[in-house]
Amino acid sequence: MSVATQTTAVRTGRIGRALIVTVLIFFALFYLLPLGVMLINSLKPLPEITGGNMMALPREPTLDPWRSAWSTAQIGVQATGLKPYFLNSILMVVPAVAISTMLGALNGYVLTKWRFPGHRWVFGLLLFSCFIPFQIVLIPMARLLGLMGLAGSLPGLILVHVVYGIGFSTLYFRNYYAAFPTELVRAAMIDGAGFFRIFWRIMLPVSGPIAVVCIIWQFTNIWNDFLFGVSFAGLDAMPMTVALNNLVQSSTGVREYNVHFAAAILAALPTLLVYIVAGRYFVRGLMAGSVKG
């Protein structure tokens, strides 16, 4: 929130305030409940869950469900736990975020400081591409990845995420660079600085805040993606979200709720950490995604 300093001038009475605070606390509990329940129950042995109250604290706390979720739980046909899929997600997210952010910065630079006829059209088309329902590209993408020999591979998934991430990263950098004084760029041009020199020496050094916003946004989106993962990853490149879903939905054997909860928290941990560490930038990214121009 950019202008989060000034609060309203409206005055409320004592009873009104008590009511407001009650409602606010009630909703805080509502938002915390699912995560809290998962955390508490991930520390219980299974009989305590199936035969007990989900709100009760664990009587015999144990870390076994976490160990099982990480390294021994049955996912699909293999009892590998989530570990290999966590690695897949990392190997997919890091290059995809780096490439799409870099391209977004360059695109934003061109679209604001090196305008050419039709730049508005390019931007409008990029903007619309941020919002398409991905169902419309699933069939041709599956065909193309098959033809390129990238089906069911990490490079294939990285390609997909880069391609559909460019829209948002360009949007961020374009809006940010639009506010940067063009006169400085002109002056540098007159001094003989070329296209890349201006980008490296003038634009990139001031891009810190928007780069953080963009990286967080891309990281959260790509880490949390399910549709592309389930469609294109196959068994070898399966990301965390797909593995979690397979674990939870598997119908064989006893339902190990405690393991499911631990697994869900493991899948949520990276994005949650980013949110806790850099929440301010996370919110800014969300807002920038909704307020264009």
Partner: protein
């Protein structure tokens, strides 16, 4: 400099100058090419497939509007559309109502505002698969909220919507609202912070009550925030896929089937690619009808930037 070297030097400078002119376009071109192929080319290909008799693999025999006729004759598709109607309208309405209320309340000089804001917003950082997993068990009558109420002594308490064909669609609304209402709150809060306090003070001097202050002045001024929230939530609702898969798998029966799950199962498990493509085209048209006017308005507004 000798007379002969002159033309070579100018042409080299010329070349450099021309390269500088083309460099920006050259840098942009891979992204533009990727967008034209992977977004607009792929859309064209899917639209084309929706007019062919493709089954398991794409085929190129033209069948006209047959797939669309079949699509709208399928009860599974009409169910998915009705479900989307119920889900989207409640999801948008409740998220906006809760978001607006929380934003207005948080704006009243609340001491722990920062903490509360962080708590309201964190679900937005989670994957819908995680959200679905959490709510699936909370809503499960065997071990979830119903069981807890029974153990706390409220024997007659019933909350088994997730197993009930008529009510399951509302569990989808609960989980989706939980995930995104905090985000709507943040949008409204930013809108509220942008309102000039002098206007409010003037109205207070004129004797306006708090209620009428909000109804007559503040809420009308939040129009842009309402619009943004509506557009974002509507397009999220049409695209909803992960949450359904994780929470209900489309069941019980077809009670929570949405267009996105319909498209996936018809294309990839039932091998009706032509019908699947047609359903994707309808989804795209739904999203476009919300997004395109919005983008158009935003771009006109930002004309000078």
């Amino acid at each position: 400099m000798s007379a002969e070297a002159m033309p070579a030097a100018t042409s080299r400078a010329d070349l450099r100058g021309r390269l500088q002119d083309w460099l920006p376009r050259l840098v942009l071109s891979p992204s533009v090419a990727a967008m034209l192929v992977f977004v607009y080319g792929f859309i064209a290909y899917s639209v084309f497939l929706s007019f062919t008799g493709s089954k398991m693999l794409p085929s190129y025999d033209w069948v006209g509007f047959d797939n669309y006729r079949r699509l709208f004759g399928l009860s599974a598709w009409t169910t998915a559309l009705v479900n989307l109607g119920i889900f989207a309208s409640l999801y948008i309405l409740i998220s906006i109502a809760i978001g607006l209320m929380l934003a207005i309340f948080l704006d009243q000089k609340i001491r722990a505002e920062g903490t509360l804001r962080a708590i309201y917003l964190y679900p937005m950082a989670l994957s819908f698969i995680v959200t679905g997993t959490a709510w699936k068990w909370l809503l499960d009558p065997g071990i979830g909220i119903e069981n807890t109420m029974h153990l706390w002594g409220w024997e007659s308490f019933r909350f088994d919507w997730i197993k009930d064909r008529d009510m399951a669609i509302y569990t989808l609304v609960i989980a989706a609202v939980w995930q995104s209402s905090g985000f709507v709150m943040a949008m409204f809060l930013a809108g509220l912070r942008g309102i000039d306090n002098e206007i409010l003070k003037a109205a207070q001097i004129d004797g306006a009550s708090n209620l009428s202050l909000y109804r007559r002045i503040v809420i009308p001024m939040l129009r842009p925030a309402f619009l943004s929230a509506f557009v974002i939530l509507a397009h999220l609702a049409i695209k909803s896929y992960d949450l359904v898969i994780a929470l209900t798998g489309g069941g019980p029966g077809r009670a929570t089937e949405l267009p996105a799950t319909f498209m996936y199962s018809y294309t990839f498990t039932r091998n009706q690619m032509g019908v699947g493509a047609a359903s994707a085209v309808i989804m795209l048209m739904g999203v476009a009808s919300v997004i395109v006017p919005y983008i158009y308005a935003e771009m006109r507004q930002g004309e000078d930037r």
